[in-house]
């Protein structure tokens, strides 16, 4: 008993320490953001005169309004289409079991571990030839393709476990495949689809490489790409940079806190399956 209690206390202490280490960078950003603009404060030093106005300055400097709109547009372009295509493909491979499904599935799995850097060069020339460079489509279309392996993999895993009888019953009642898909299988797949939606939202929002390579204008990028540009522009004004970074992180944090349970389970499942 004594051993167990001591272990529990060590556990708690370790957990608190781990949380402190995780939070330290953000606390440091926050404290630094309150120092007068242009100064070089210490890493963790509460200012004598907190400059809350830095956040307002950073909001203007970062064009937060435009950034939010841009990221939302990109997410709206990527996530619904990816979900639809992947659900359909997962349904065909996992449930309809059409001829040649193994080969198709293998083709998708091939892309699961692909680092984006591996194809970024030809992607640049391809997007340029399509005349889409420096538009949001340059991020949206390739991302849909790049998310397909994981999304199809994810949806197939769901459909493989759906009992055959479910469809047979509906077919006997006179439903064709299209109705079968929309009326029976999509509603049943909602938990899998919504977890996938969270993951895709996060990966789109945080996409950096495609944003900096394919789009020059930070106002047409994702949040992460805009943050990179913000660092390039204001990197010498540390308090302002810190304030801007926190502002750019704020929407993600808000969404995460609202949906945290779903986020955590989606992320855990996501890495387990991927």
């Amino acid at each position: 008993m004594i051993v167990a209690r001591r272990e529990a206390w060590t556990g708690r202490a370790l957990l608190v320490l781990l949380m402190l280490v995780t939070l330290a960078p953000f606390v440091s950003l926050f404290v630094t953001a309150l120092h007068p603009a242009g100064t070089y404060p210490l890493g963790l030093d509460w200012p004598s005169d907190p400059q809350w106005s830095n956040f307002a300055d950073a909001f203007r400097a970062a064009h937060m309004g435009a950034l939010l709109t841009s990221s939302i547009l990109i997410v709206l372009g990527v996530v619904p289409v990816s979900l639809l295509l992947a659900t359909m493909a997962g349904f065909a491979i996992g449930h309809l079991r059409m001829a040649g499904r193994r080969l198709v599935f293998l083709t998708f799995v091939l892309g699961l571990t692909l680092p984006f850097e591996g194809i970024i060069t030809p992607l640049y020339y391809q997007v340029r030839d399509m005349g889409l460079l420096n538009t949001r489509w340059a991020i949206v279309l390739p991302l849909i393709g790049l998310f397909m392996p994981f999304s199809v993999f994810w949806m197939r895993a769901h459909f493989v476990n759906m009992p055959e009888e479910l469809s047979e019953g509906a077919r006997i009642d006179g439903a064709n495949v299209w109705q079968l898909f929309w009326r029976i299988h999509v509603p049943l797949a909602m938990p899998a689809i919504s977890s996938l939606a969270i993951l895709l939202f996060l990966w789109t929002w945080n996409q950096f490489l495609l944003a900096i390579v394919l789009v020059d204008d930070p106002a047409k990028r994702t949040m992460a790409g805009a943050l990179g540009a913000f660092q390039g522009q204001w990197g010498t004004d540390i308090p302002l940079l810190c304030a801007g970074s926190l502002l750019i992180l704020a929407p993600t944090l808000a969404i995460f806190l609202v949906f945290q349970r779903r986020f955590v389970s989606a992320l855990l499942q996501g890495s387990l399956k991927g």
Binding site: V16, L42, T113, L241
Partner: protein
Amino acid sequence: MTRLAEARPAPATVARKGSPARKAGLRTRRWVGWLFVTPALVVYATFVLRPLFLTFEYSLYRWDGIGPSTWVGLDNYVKVFTDPDLFDTILHAFKLIVFFSAIPVLLGLAIASTIRRIAASRLALVARTVLFLPQVFPLVAAGIAWSWLLSSTGLVNQLLSRVGLGGVTRAWLGDFSTALPAVGVIGAWVLLGLCTLLLLAGMSKIDPALYEAARIDGAGPLREFASITVPSLRHEIGVCVTVTVIAALATFDIVYIATQGGPGNATMVPGLEIYYQAFAERQVGVASALAVVLMILVLACVLPIQWLTREESR
């Protein structure tokens, strides 16, 4: 469609597979399946498979991205393996595996088994949310925050001075000998929480009776850890190693923000080198050859891990 129902009156028909209606039904379904999978395949082929193929093709040419290209065979690959600046990027990526994979997985195992008993407490629930923050925020943010933490006046040096180690303080990311490990520390910070939580989730599935039995047999915490925890977590450990090894080899965002590959070439990694070669140096062929090498390295590392930790655990 009612005909279908009439043709198969009872679910336990003996000649299920042989019945003509069943056959017809299957045939439509097999054909229709392709309609469902085609849109996904088209997007995937256009934006992944085609560029993938082109990467291989580009890697055999010398091309500045604008003018005509010249066939050079495997010269670009020879360059990747002989030019120290290029080859070092691969070595750096492997050194980063120590920080991105070994530290988070080993430390994660140690932490998870220590906090296993309190995994259901309120504190642990709060910790779940907090430890996930590095996963939710873009890596760019981690890069910015840590560049500040590791700078000469940053928190890390502040703490070191406080405990009397003022002598070792420096601009960690700007020093040739410490820049790469410092980048590694950022990666370890990003991945430690994820690994800990994945392993903790795996531990919650282990039968507590196993631990009880071990206790009665007089096993200490270390023995428990080695004979129960680690073997039961094969699958989870495999996942952690896979995810983190890919993150290490294909790292880009953190290095781009924190060091831009510097000082000198000290933290240059394949991903960033591909970016520079293709878009700054205009050496599309070299960039593509390095990209092919990177993709093969990722597969060469991931496949054995998957193979080692698969099936047997299930």
